[in-house]
């Protein structure tokens, strides 16, 4: 969060600049020199004012990053499948199964280290069937589950998948 804590390495600044430039091309769509130079100015400005917000952990090298990207892509495919399941579950609940609601609050201990992994786990829990993360205190997640089945679904499989994405 503060500027002095993260040591700025040139690799990460260029990475942020490149990603922003890619985003600019998607936004803009003009590939002539005038608009590309405007894009370079804008991306340099954004990199200057908020490059330190992206990439909390800056110790990994380029190869490790590329591996993580591919694993995260695989994980997101699985996540989309879970989201589809969650919506079908919700559809069933709202039309037929309302009396089957068994709301309860479950505690879940996670062993993940970095903030980004915890963020990913919390958002994935919210998007999967029947569970919503209510609160995080340290390593403890408090989860509001909508039924017994949903509460038992929190068996740590998701956490294993996320941990696998970020292991070196």
């Amino acid at each position: 969060m503060d500027r002095n804590k993260t040591k700025s390495s040139p690799f990460y600044s260029w990475l942020v600049f490149g990603l922003l430039m890619l985003t600019w091309v998607v936004f803009s769509g003009f590939l002539d020199a005038f608009h590309l130079s405007l894009g370079v100015i804008s991306c340099a400005f954004v990199t200057w004012i908020s490059a330190d917000l992206l990439f909390e952990n800056r110790s990994d090298g380029p190869v490790a990053r590329i591996k993580q990207v591919f694993r995260l892509a695989g994980y997101s495919v699985w996540l989309v499948y879970q989201i589809v399941l969650a919506n079908i579950h919700l559809l069933k609940l709202s039309f037929i199964g309302q009396r089957a609601l068994q709301p309860q609050i479950v505690r879940y201990e996670c062993k993940l280290k970095s903030d980004f992994e915890k963020f990913l786990l919390a958002n994935s829990i919210t998007l999967t069937p029947g569970t919503v993360t209510m609160k995080i205190k340290g390593d403890t997640f408090y989860i509001h589950a909508i039924s017994d089945v949903a509460a038992e679904g929190l068996d740590g499989e998701m956490e294993k998948r996320i941990a696998k994405c970020f292991e070196s």
Partner: protein
């Protein structure tokens, strides 16, 4: 009627069905926390499907990469919108659920399962009502 139109219509119809589920859930669930389930999950996939449906329909205008670059761009932007909705919607759900707890809204919990509800004692309790002058 091309294949892209058929896919688009199917995607949009499924998206509307999920929107309907979310809307009924918001209307009928009795408790704030269960309503959050409907709100947090129902809107992500359904808006994603409808947006992707319109993106697929745009493929009808696609001829070649050099001519139809704007069409691809629209599809990429629609995917970006879906990604941002997928990112912000669960986060807003967390923030609102946490605020609801801090604001002292009592959850309706199932009473015949003491081993799960006992965990509630670990929770930070809602702040007590303060008598305001």
């Amino acid at each position: 009627m091309s294949i892209f139109t058929i896919i688009a219509v199917v995607l949009i119809c499924v998206g509307l069905l999920f929107f309907l589920g979310a809307a009924v859930g918001i209307m009928r669930f009795g408790d704030f926390y269960t309503r959050m389930h409907a709100a947090g999950k129902g809107d992500t996939l359904s808006s994603l499907l409808v947006l992707l449906g319109f993106g697929v329909y745009q493929l009808n205008n696609f001829q070649s990469f050099s001519e139809s670059w704007p069409v691809l761009l629209v599809i990429l932007k629609l995917i970006a919108i879906s990604a941002f909705i997928l990112l912000t919607s669960p986060t807003a759900t967390h923030a609102l659920m946490d605020s609801g707890w801090e604001d002292g809204i009592e959850p309706e919990l199932k009473n015949d399962k003491p081993e799960t509800n006992a965990l509630e004692e670990d929770m930070p309790q809602p702040k007590q009502k303060e008598a305001q002058a």
